[in-house]
Symmetry: C2
Subunit: 199 residues, 2 copies
């Protein structure tokens, strides 16, 4: 745990959100999780809405750091690393509880412009990263040259979002949802000719 | 409007859900929308939880009727008709309000087995319909014979779910989300050789 109370509070927000969900989350829950007083939390972050907005910025920074950490890989590997990062279930990535809470947050978006603006940054970042990688892959001849990077990136982001939603809504195990995505990307979306499968 | 009060109440639930959202929906809202008394609603449907479960059954019946109404079309047309049905925004299909409310319902699924079971029926039905159509299309030579119907159907359902979630969460217009799906299905997922595009 960080010694900086502002970071500690954001890390406590993460744990409190996973535990209580978004709708029921209170500043008191966050303070309890941080082992700090409510008034200290308000001192640093003001209202619950402001704290939550800062929390989404904090999550966004973690997300973008993770998604740019693999920039030195070749395009095809980068794309599969991104799928691993956003779809995997190991302990370093968001738990089922965080996925559920984030879906709750998404439901608020039509009623809360600040939340929607924050969520768009996640969506846009993923879209732009994937688009860049596909452009680089087409240029390098790793992906078929008739792949349209914008259309393909839009498709990726949509499919990844759908995997997250289905995991919460219908509770299918990740293997059922994620393996077909990876398989389809590999064999149909990019450059079938480089997989050894003449398609 | 139907004269049968049980159907009238379910139709009123639809309108009340679009107007109030799921979290705030009360039996009083539904009764007001149906122009009936709360006690009459309880008389026919018991608790709010039971009414809502019956409402999801009613929506499911409408959904499956719509998705089977196109069974006489050839496989490729059926698949695009399904995309039209589940992704279009015209007045006969779910409004943005219903999509938002249904996303709220999905968030409840991890905490409510009855809701999750109902949601799985929608998900399973779409999966099975798409899988059947792809099998028929591969048999008929309309789709490439290396398309795996199970993997492709899983991919479809995930992508469609993602389009619904992104529309609520980031508020992009349908054209941005839906056109790339249709385009990718047409040119990459099924049988590129029948589209006139040599890919």
């Amino acid at each position: 745990m960080d010694d900086d109370p502002t970071t500690e509070i954001l890390e406590a927000t993460y744990r409190a959100l996973c535990q209580h969900g978004y709708a029921n989350l209170t500043v008191g829950d966050i303070a309890a999780e941080a082992e700090r007083s409510k008034s200290l939390v308000h001192y640093y972050y003001g209202s619950k809405a402001n704290l939550f907005s800062e929390f989404l910025r904090f999550l966004y920074n973690e997300y973008t750091t993770q998604l740019t950490s693999i920039e030195d890989e070749p395009p095809r590997e980068q794309l599969f690393s991104i799928l691993d990062i956003v779809l995997s279930d190991d302990e370093t990535t968001p738990s089922q509880e965080l996925r559920t809470a984030m879906l709750e947050v998404k439901v608020q978006a039509p009623y809360d412009d600040a939340i929607q603006a924050r969520l768009r940054r996640f969506d846009d970042f993923l879209f732009e990263r994937v688009q860049e990688i596909i452009i680089a892959g087409v240029d390098a001849g790793e992906f078929a040259d008739d792949v349209n990077p914008t259309v393909a990136a839009e498709f990726f982001v949509t499919t990844i979002t759908g995997a997250h939603t289905r995991r919460v809504a219908v509770g299918y195990p990740s293997e059922r949802l994620y393996e077909p995505i990876t398989r389809y990307v590999e064999t149909h979306l990019l450059a079938a000719e480089t997989t050894g499968d003449p398609r």
